[in-house]
């Protein structure tokens, strides 16, 4: 019964969203002039200055044609509500709701308490602090769907629906170039943490080891000035990738997305602003 009600709500929501968004031509993708596509075919890492922090190819102003994959991206991806919440906190929250883990440690509690305090201050002082969407909402949504035994694709649709309506905020690292929530990585992270919790361990790597090859992965040897060579890894963003998924691919840990983000700050304005065809440098773990 609940399932039918949920499905009905989701359908109604989708219909309303279409009705409201279509006449306006759909929500535009917030363009960020600082973000430029890099063209993997025309940038050689060996031309990049040798040094631990500078392996990012700088062919941003390339007049050459775009890679063939670029125009495939949907023209008007929905705008998702994102926030800076940590995926680990969110995962622990979901596990807590499912009764798989003791209530999360102090930090997540403090985050929620702080968020509430800020909202309280903001209520009397408009403009100082706006009430943020509560991260518990996302947790509750996922936990409920998991309890109901919903399929991954159902949860995927549910989350995208809710995030595009601004009802829940998703971690920035889990936004794909198409502007969708990377539900697969999110769920995999929850499963990995639940398994670890059940075995009484700290969360383990979801996918141990580094990919030797695989689509989009490049490994280059760069000879430094002193004659030694350093290995750099690059990854070209594909359809459906999120920074979190890439972090899992290379480090086996979704939380490492920040390592990748920091190393690619010159081409990424925000973790949720990755584009298909972007060539990201992947620092050695």
């Amino acid at each position: 019964m609940i399932r039918i009600a949920l499905a009905a709500t989701a359908f109604l929501g989708a219909t309303l969203a279409l009705v409201f968004l279509l006449p306006k031509g759909g929500p535009g993708l917030p363009e960020d002039s600082a973000v430029t596509r890099t063209d993997s075919a025309f940038s050689q890492p060996s031309t990049a200055p040798a040094g631990p922090n500078l392996p990012v190819p700088t062919s941003q102003a390339s007049p050459l044609p775009r890679p063939a994959t670029a125009p495939i991206a949907p023209p008007q991806p929905p705008v998702l509500l994102t926030d800076n919440s940590s995926l680990r906190d969110m995962t622990n929250g979901v596990l807590g709701e499912l009764g798989l883990q003791p209530p999360p440690a102090e930090a997540p509690q403090m985050r929620d308490m702080t968020a509430n305090a800020l909202a309280n201050i903001g209520r009397l002082r408009p403009g100082t602090a706006q009430p943020q969407p509560q991260p518990e909402k996302l947790q509750a949504l996922i936990a409920q769907a998991l309890k109901q035994g919903q399929s991954d694709s159902y949860i995927d649709a549910l989350l995208n629906e809710a995030a595009s309506r601004g009802e829940v905020a998703v971690p920035k690292a889990l936004v794909t170039p198409e502007g969708r929530v990377d539900t697969a990585t999110l769920l995999a992270n929850i499963v990995a943490s639940a398994t670890a919790a059940a075995q009484g361990q700290t969360p383990v790597d979801m996918a141990k080891g580094q990919p030797v090859g695989g689509k989009g992965v490049e490994i280059r040897m760069v000879t430094q000035a002193d004659g030694t060579s350093v290995q750099y890894q690059f990854y070209t963003v594909g359809v459906g990738d999120s920074l979190g998924a890439i972090a899992v691919k290379f480090y086996g840990d979704v939380a490492k997305f920040n390592t990748i983000f920091e190393a690619n700050r010159t081409i990424l304005s925000s973790p949720d602003k990755i584009r298909v065809g972007q060539r990201l440098v992947i620092p050695r773990a």
Binding site: M110, R111, T114, N116, I121, L124
Partner: protein
């Protein structure tokens, strides 16, 4: 018999004739109740008019274990002014209504939810502990500006803090943590009576 009737009639007339019969229990001789507009919301603070009313429950306890529920000195720190109820009302009317101050309930949310002083906002003392990794966000919201050399609180809000009463350590602790973070003591106030005295005086309580 006639005398009795007369006496009763006079008594009734006296009661009806008093302009503020409904506010027989006033805040002060001059002030029956206060109406304060805070950010577009009007709050009313008066007192319980039932003269037979007594407190029941939590706030009638005499002997809480000390520690932790020890009796606090009148001052919460050098330079921090201590307030009574009339000063709390004045603070609401002046500082809070004009947007230059906040009346802060330092207790944890569960206590806040049971009832607080009208116009107070809940900033639990735990969120002001240096161990809270997100404390900076609160200090910013209170008007602090992080500079290269530390915090600049010169434009920060005036804060009046309270908790459950003279036996409660939460607001003194929040005040200590704020001053240690560099918050100027002259921008801080301590309402020592807290909920204990507020309730004992039958003053209005707001349930958020």
């Amino acid at each position: 018999m006639v005398r009795m009737l007369c006496r009763a009639a006079v008594a009734v007339l006296m009661l009806l004739g008093q302009p503020g019969w409904a506010e027989d229990v006033r805040i002060t001789a001059d002030i029956a109740a206060k109406q304060i507009v805070l950010n577009g919301q009007t709050i009313n603070i008066g007192r319980i008019q039932d003269k037979a009313n007594v407190l029941t429950g939590e706030f009638t306890k005499t002997s809480r274990a000390c520690p932790p529920f020890c009796i606090h000195p009148i001052s919460a720190g050098a330079g921090v002014e201590t307030l009574g109820e009339i000063e709390v009302l004045a603070f609401l009317e002046k500082n809070v209504a004009q947007g230059t101050g906040l009346l802060i309930d330092s207790r944890v949310p569960e206590w806040f939810a049971k009832g607080t002083i009208p116009g107070a906002v809940n900033v639990p003392f735990t969120t002001l502990e240096p161990t809270n990794p997100y404390r900076d966000e609160i200090l910013k919201a209170l008007g602090g500006v992080k500079t290269a050399s530390g915090w600049d609180f010169s434009a920060a809000l005036d804060l009046a803090m309270f908790c459950n009463g003279p036996w409660c350590d939460q607001s003194p602790r929040a005040i200590r943590n704020l001053t240690e973070a560099g918050y100027p003591p002259e921008k801080l106030r301590y309402y020592r009576g807290g909920m204990q005295l507020w309730l004992l005086l039958g003053l209005s309580v707001q349930t958020p």
